[in-house]
Symmetry: D3
Subunit: 340 residues, 6 copies
């Protein structure tokens, strides 16, 4: 079976316990996560082969990352080892009317200073069907941006489908480049793009005077996405929707646009969110996995949205669910009593 390959940065995530603010007490929960690693882990949990590419420092922390990836059967054989450190991010988890806040401590991480020669590209792409990158990696450093661009070009050259999530992180992009300087070039080599109308117009250069600051109609969405698809010769564009009632209560849904057809998922009204981080990655993993397992786009979209929904119930970056749970939810979101 072929592989879904993700490339990017995985970090140590440190967050406070219970509902405390960060460092309120001096006990921390440690997990590990990063956009593309989160995707590889879920793809593997859902039954697909996945391979994760990054550079890890050769110390007890880097080895722990490999252990945890291996525990979920993610192929780690093409990971590069070296560099100075594993990036860290601190989560000050919000509640109600208080927002979650991320403090990044990821500068000078191994992957952010890695270069093309650090990787064995034949091993990276061996038997790959999809190659996924996001807008987070090129946001780190010029070298990470170069590396990402090299990788998607190389993937394209090898006839592997490229998937790209725009993933705009405002606290990054501090090395001189703006997101709109880099992402269009990467999307040129992509087949599948996770982006919303804002990303299309403001980052990827779609020309439109539709106002994207408020909710837009399906027709306007189609107009924008048609332009995006034709501008970059894309196959599919996918967009998540999130209505934030408060930090514990979000309503979510998603859209998939392909070949002039707009597919809309059902909507989930999540009232007691456990962990919001990594939910978008679960959605992306659901789409990539769905494309490998199913044919019907509506089914794939519902599958991915159910995976998206379930991640909100699980602490940590990784969606520790099962394919059965995802399908059970997409088929009926009403049978929620204790199973016994």
């Amino acid at each position: 079976m072929s592989y879904i390959v993700g490339f990017g940065e995985i970090m140590l995530r440190l967050s406070s316990i219970d509902n405390e603010r960060l460092f309120q007490s001096l006990k921390l929960n440690a997990t590990f996560g990063g956009v593309e690693a989160n995707i590889c882990v879920l793809a593997s949990i859902l039954g697909l082969n996945s391979r994760y590419i990054t550079m890890l420092p050769d110390n007890a922390i880097g080895h722990k990352v490999e252990e945890l990836l291996l525990s979920h059967k993610v192929d780690t054989s093409a990971i590069a080892w070296g560099g100075k450190r594993l990036g860290i991010y601190f989560v000050d988890k919000g509640n109600n009317y208080r927002t979650s806040n991320i403090i990044y401590d990821r500068e000078h991480s191994s992957i952010s200073e890695a270069s093309i020669k650090d990787f064995d590209w034949d091993k990276v792409f061996d038997n790959a069907s999809y190659f996924h990158v996001s807008g987070v990696t090129p946001a780190l450093t010029q070298s990470a941006a170069d590396l990402t661009l090299y990788a998607v070009k190389e993937a394209k050259k090898r006839n592997i489908k490229v998937s790209c999530d725009i993933n705009h992180r405002k606290k990054l992009w501090k090395y001189g480049k703006k997101i709109e300087d880099i992402m269009p070039e990467i999307v040129k080599y992509s087949d599948i793009v996770f982006a919303n109308e804002y990303d299309a117009i403001k980052i990827l250069g779609v020309e439109s005077d539709i106002n994207v600051d408020s909710n837009i109609s399906d027709e306007d969405y189609k107009i924008i996405m048609d332009k995006l698809i034709s501008k970059y010769s894309l196959e599919i564009v996918i967009t998540t929707r999130r209505e934030i009632i408060n930090s514990n209560h979000n309503n979510i849904s998603a859209l998939l646009y392909n070949n002039k057809n707009l597919y809309k998922s059902k909507k989930y009204n999540i009232t007691n969110i456990v962990d919001r981080i990594g939910t978008g990655d679960s959605f992306a993993a659901g789409i990539l996995s769905g494309l490998n397992m199913f044919k019907d786009y509506q089914y794939i979209l519902e599958f991915a949205t159910a995976a998206f929904c379930i991640k909100h119930t699980i602490p940590g970056d990784w969606n520790l669910t099962t394919k059965e749970e995802v399908i059970s939810l997409m088929e009926s979101s009403k049978k929620l009593d204790v199973k016994r």
Copy 2:
């Protein structure tokens, strides 16, 4: 004062900490619970005498069970000691759109392999006013079913009121018998039955073509329950209602039917459920305790429903509340500010 006597299986319950999935980290919370033990504990907390009958293994785990029952003044003097092991159940607690899931590890437990001669039946029924069983015990093994039937016959013979909760657990009943093979025989010796319209028709053999897959009218409910009562010469039938919005948010209420009169409780809209397990047992304990303390059926039903509601706020199988708290809630569910 006379005793409420419960007979059944109590297990070690292992669940993850915080909102983690089972075994996500390797810290577990251990509690102990089982339908009838839960009832005895709450009856005792509410001020009644209760006695719990089971077989416990004669090791540190069995002794811990006795310690905890004793701490709530449950009479343990008729418990049989022996057998191989205490049953265990693992709880993978759900949230939002993710369902709680139970993994049973209760095969070959002491009580599931116990026999009639293991108990001193005079001690079991000494000074008893009510004897409660559920559909969980006969679901374990043929010997447990035989034992349950023997016990209710014996109770009947001694003029003790028998109470039976149908308690259909789909993951049990694996030894060859179906629930509809066994429960009707047990209900024959019962005076009080906890059952809904589904149980009445599909398990207890009430003949009716009323559709029980959707909500039914009060009139239809009465028709079915009249048939159930007359078929088995029952005194009271009681039914809980649960509307599941998501795993954290349930709306609950209950019905009591006696002598052609239908009593309906008020409804509680519980939005941040702490622990759903054992709530039905709290309701049953509320009914049995109420029957011992109060005369008015509406009052008894409201008392039991308030106990039912409060259990949703307390972790573990046991409803660690007080009679004052239950009465305060049933009398006014609006005075919920901090008491200081």
Copy 3:
């Protein structure tokens, strides 16, 4: 810069972990809090100078209190040292339809037995702009009531604005006096009073036949507060509103009345409350801090109400927020997505 000075009792607060009932397991969370200390801590966090006055026992527990106050830059130099013990309060935290319950163990605490000569009043009032007391301290003992009255008189004499929160605690006032015996005398020396229509009529002696047991109109509110202001020559009266849906879900807002103008805050619908204790103190700190930082009463009220709201998301008595967070919430309660 001048100081906001608070005077009162700070206690050790012991509460259970997770959602357990008090002593359900034998692990406790310890924090420290008390009305006026909570106010001083938040005023300091919001960027003002604050000084806290109490008497602490000269042992490891008293020293820990000082450590924690110092960590938030509260001036502790006028604290008196001595007496027998630090008061304690136990919190049995509620959920859903179960109320939180406080058990006080504060009798014979150092401050409750302190006397006027224990304090260096010049240090207490050095460079003070506001002096805040509440109805909790005079509820403890006759000597604490005397001390409070002495302090507000002394503050008044020194031309310091006096602020008083009525803060009616039904479980206190056990030494023979009623709240209506004492608080009017203290309010006589006050400029700013936190009170609602009930407090005005039942405690502070405003004569009115408006029914204060149900919601009252703005017009009635103004009538009562006009009488209160003129009876005591007050400058500002402030009132919080709380609609309790259940123990996890409250809707909050507030009113400020000054010079015949009624200011009304926006309303926050808090669905997953983390900690309800100390929220009113956060509001009071917001008002006192706002009066020092801003001029517009509507702005001050919104600032204080946002601080009030945020405290519901943070465990412990203290509002571990920042001025930026408060202003961000008051300016837009909609931008609640993860900041990254």
Copy 4:
């Protein structure tokens, strides 16, 4: 079977977690303990009937104490309910060259302010064989001293053997009396006394010029104890020995003197102490239980010393061991490999 009855104060004990200093983090372990309660719990665990007498406050904290006593089958039926509060003590646990330190917060506890009429003395002494008191209770208040004296007189009158542990606590005795003012009067009514040569001479008034500040010879010990026995008409005197290498490493042993015969226990070299508190109480419980179960004084002393030793390995005040473990240790302290 007859009862061993203990009378005294039980407290909430709060200590830090792991090896932290008290309040280093804000997580605490809560247990409950007090000299005589500790003895009753162990006597019950060792298979005897025990009854504990105290006064508990009628709140959730007092009820928790009863729950825990009941869980160990201690008879709580003669406990008086009322008063203000449960006493508390804080433990700052030492290690190596750092001493454990106790902070008492037990003033105004229910038992310290109880009086003779609060107890039903017939229930207290019903079917009692031994009545145990210690020097801790009379150290609290004059009323507690009076109560203790009344109780031992009453026990003596009813022909119950009185056992008294001198238990000198330097941080108590603050109400005006010294230990040597009170304890001799109590010992007058005692049959069994736990005291060392220092207690005999400095507290109980034995006249001797033997230097008790350093180790004394067996002969000197006998001389002093003969005088003590004859002065107070005692039956048995028992003494523990503790050599403190550091806070983790103590060597322990004990002596029993009866009818001119000196019995000496074997010595245990405990190198990794888990909890030192309550060890002396375990020894006393071992003696009282041994006197009920065995005849040979050497055997009784070894049994008690083994119980004494085992307590050092168990956190909390209570010796959660079994009779089998105690006997196994006294018979062979060498078979310490994992039992599997």
Copy 5:
């Protein structure tokens, strides 16, 4: 590179936290372990290929076991899936003069009821160099004994070296057979045996009148082991020595006997044992790994003994060390200061 293959039972291990007795509080630590799994994990950590063979239940618990084995790169591809349950063992951890005690709850586990046809034996032995079994598996059931014997015969047939650890567990062997009925037959097919003089004479039938209840001389050891080797045509016999000072303090060393040469390791004096369980398995893993990596028997023995020693410092069944740490200790046990 070839594989070290282990076959046996892995269990869920539940133990209390801190130094509490089992179930003293209701928090448990969960880990997983079993003799042969422990060996495979350490062999893999030390840099070798290892494969573990067992039967796991196809539920969340079984899947967690696989996750954890995979995290340490143990090959799980030949594990059989099915059966009823994962065995459990409870650890009541001792200290000082209190012994650790194991409660087994492993009856009816999947592996104890598995049969020969459940395994794909070609996958089991694919590319294997060593096959390791212990006396624990045949102690479970007749079918487990049959399976073990089948496996060692099959290994022998395929020219794989068979290693066997006698591992006498007194609490097992309850199905009718004694250890001396079964183990000699298994040792017949073995090349390497872990046994001491007691095992040789009492279990494996070596005839000798040397007293094995006390320490024996090297000469006597050689006499017995020569007989053992010649009786079963063994290549190597290995023996661990443990002197138990108390539960925290053990002195350990080991012997290896091959071709008339006796090798003796250095001795480690371990004064603050963290976890004693699995230490013997670490030694066995050290020997098997050493035989694959090194040639000199003295070096192999020292390597294994250092791994044996280090395991005492790590909680859980698995020796989470590194090859570098083991070699560093064997080369110098003196450089133990903080590495920084």
Copy 6:
């Protein structure tokens, strides 16, 4: 009163819980520490004024550091704010024969990239009596080395006594310079130096052919230290001695050499070490504080050695003791029973 001023790096310290290896479970304890901060905190605890100089990042992590320093009354007013990040170090705590291991993640920390103009040197040295630096700061980067040298020169210029701890950390010094390139220049401006004979000869260039790899005689020590003192015009040289039995058991003592007089402390035999990190800093703080409080060198040395000893019993970098505890230990290390 004048100030002891420390200058250097403070880091977030992350370590595993209980006795687990780093990341064995995913719970971490967070504390903060660094050589000079540790010294300032203890000096303040011992009753002196202290001021700590570093650069902290202006985020929640940096602010937490200030909070904790303030809680111990360390003056933070001259701390510079800015730079990228707070350095981190991970502690994999050893036991028995397993060594503790530090993983540094401190590159690009704020202080390591700070420059002279970032500090207000008048505030740094305001009212200072002692200025302390260590060999850790110059080990970070060239700019940190330059900054340290500038600071000691500036201190000297202002007639402040300079104290320097050689503190050789082998894992640092990676930017191109060796310790012997830098430290001699810093020692030139010092009055008090913490160094042993190895440091004197290998780092500070004392010429001697005395073998410093094994224990040396007092006479040889004096010869070397005389040379060191005269080479750098020092006032006092101080040396700690540590005999490592295993990771839990160290024997410690210290030497002070001044004006041809050698003072030797008593020796502490610490058998159950809780935390070894920061013990040397406690000793240094004890010396600096002692020099401010006492006159007699023997007394100062014993005081510092007692502080050194006590730190081994307390988790975290900071010595949370009291002056009373230190003096009590130095006066008698035998009175180690529970204080109650």
